[in-house]
Symmetry: C2
Subunit: 83 residues, 2 copies
């Protein structure tokens, strides 16, 4: 379908954008500017996207949300630990 | 469709999760723990989701991505300004 590539670029970017944040937080252990509530709500929201992907049986949604879940869950865990 | 409500809950949560981060950064001006590259890549990615929503003529995608774009763009602008 025409324009479907924009969807794949979008999914890759919004998923992989959490890599530099996770790496930065892991290295510096500086979580002072990060909002705990953002990562609590975001991580639960990504869980919902994952289950919605299961309902739709959409593998791109399932896979990309599992990756995002791992990254945002790691940032949330570091926020809870290093504060 | 059965299970569609999970998609709406997911969209609301991942969109609104950026509100506490934007409010916190606006109040504290503390952006030290925030990754610049996360917000650069994420904001461009949300632009792509917006255009993909236009391609699909999906109003829920268009509206929710416009809201997310405003929030992540504001956080990115504050990261660039208060550092």
């Amino acid at each position: 379908m025409t324009g479907e590539w924009i969807g794949y670029v979008a999914a890759a970017m919004t998923t992989l954008s959490f890599v530099p944040q996770a790496v930065r937080t892991l290295r510096t252990r500086d979580t002072s500017g990060i909002s705990l509530w953002m990562y609590v709500v975001f991580t639960v929201g990504v869980c919902c996207w994952f289950f919605y992907g299961v309902v739709l049986m959409s593998w791109p949604m399932i896979v990309s949300n599992l990756v995002t879940l791992g990254l945002s869950g790691a940032i949330l865990a570091m926020k809870l630990r290093y504060r």
